[in-house]
Amino acid sequence: MTSATGGAATPAAIEVQGLRKRYGPVQAVDGIDFEVRGGEVFGLLGPNGAGKTTTVEILEGLRQPDGGRALVLGLDAARQPDGIKERIGVQLQTAALYPRLTVTEVIDLFGSFYRHRLATAHLIEAFDLGERRDARTMQLSGGQQQRLSVALALVNDPELVFLDEPTTGLDPQARRSLWELVRGLQRDGKTVLLTTHYMEEAETLCDRVAIMDHGRILEMGTVEELVSRRFQERAVRFDTIPDLDQEQLAALPGVRSAAPEEEHTVLYSADVPATLAGLLEAAASVGAEARDLSIRPATLEDVFLALTGHALRD
């Protein structure tokens, strides 16, 4: 069940160099470079319109790049998309592909597209869909549909799997069971590239992440690397005080940057005691107090917020 690649250097599953794609006036992908190693779970994070989807579509052989190069499993995505499609698995957010076909029928159908395929019965068992094998896909629960969607992505036993926001819209229990499936893929030696809106998901699943915005990769590395590289600071969070503007807060002692987060304000501080004293004083000067005050270490969410200027879920 493990990948056949033994020895030291695992060959790259994806190699991207100087990749560009423009739609009219919008430079969707603006010269990006990255590499996904074989057997790795790699997360691509970014707000909507950051260029994640376009990047993934080029890698899946669905779009032609304007410039640069993308090698997927050693094949050029622009020239050999058919060769790539045979060896990758793709899961999109939409699950109800053929609402009136049964689970078995849909898996059989997708299997028929490939030269090499796994047995339908095996997939049904692996994804715990046995009781629903004869149910029409429209009758499945959200979690079951998502499992089917991932099962379809694996029908050709791919070396590389693309997961597009695999847990969006799932309840916490279904989300955790899907995470377990993704870990299982990694144990089987498959490479996974996933896009997600959930920081917790990226922190739990991804060996490495890249943060994209405006068609560029802003930061790349393991979650720990990213957080520690960007943030020696801690986050001081409180209910936004209307009479204190962002500039005043950013000038408080120890504060490196300030950012709004819904109805809260977050100050990234290298000297928490000094920042707290300054904040309480500033609040008192306008006759207010800092409510719901909390202090915590910086997370990937904070990295994202600081880099892109908005929260990931926007």
Partner: protein
Amino acid sequence: MRTLVILTAANLKSFVRDRAGMFWTLLFPVVFVLLFGMIFSGTQNPKYSVGWVDQDGTQASARLASAFGAVPILELKPGDEPTSLDAMRKGNVSAVIVVPKGYGAALAAAQRPSASPLGGLPGLPGQAAVKLVLYTDPSHQTTAQTIQQIVGQVAGVINQQLTRAPDLLGVEPRPLQTENISNVAYIVPSILAMALMQLGLFGAIPLVEQREKLILKRLGATPLKRWTLVGSNVLVRLLVGVVQAILILGIGATVFHVTILGSLALVAGLVLLGAATFIALGYVVASFARTEEAASQTTSILQFPLMFLSGIFFPFEIMPDFMRAVGAAMPLTYLGDAMRQVMVNGAAFAPLSVDVAILAVWLVVCLGISARFFRWQ
């Protein structure tokens, strides 16, 4: 090729399991044919109820009754004179025939061989010996005339038998379809053309839906070839079109006796060409409609002028000039025209070859536009 078959089977399964879709594509045209057929055939084969008053009561008058009863469009209602006339006043019968007393006796007298040529024959030339009384309502002109003619013919046959005069002048009936074809014969090929139009045009809606829900994108990420995907969609639509055609023509033939006069192969060819043209038009709509809602609105907006200005329900002759001009540009005009020409010898709007050529041009143009503008995601 194997993938095409599997995908087509999957699409057919999806189609058959969609009850609402089945209703609209298969049952709706059938209901349409039945409804329109019944409306338009109401005056085609009338049956007249006729009051029958037998005052003679002999064997001869009974034979006369069975002679009238054998006329297919007459239905005799026996009764006495006052009741029958009352029934006619109330509109329950269209006419009343009275056989006077002495009818049998008069007939027997006429048949007596010894009767002398002059004195014996009760009747004189130009003047009948016995007169059947026929009540009709002159304000219902057609009915009155028809019944008078029938009664006159029956009387004529009886006169001839009695006098044993040899047949001098006979009539040999020969069928000839007039240009002024019956309403039902007009409506059946028209509804077939309309059903094919809807089949193709409405195909735009699931296509846009599949694009919106990223199904086309998901399929695009498999090794499945695009031509296989398109081929399968077209194949399913064509199959449904053929089933629709069989249903509509079957009902036309069995219920309304509209039989195909022309070549069946030609009809089949037209069904395929028409379906293909409108499927291509559906792809054009899907090329420009971004949402499923936009697609369904566009198809509804398109189908009404197509239906009403293309001579499908209203013949061209009754339309004002500008409407005719619009109709003359539309593909459904030529599909309907071709269908009527081939199926029921309908009056030609354009020669058949022109119909086919114009449909082919529409097909090619729509294919070109779709190939250029259709988006997969």
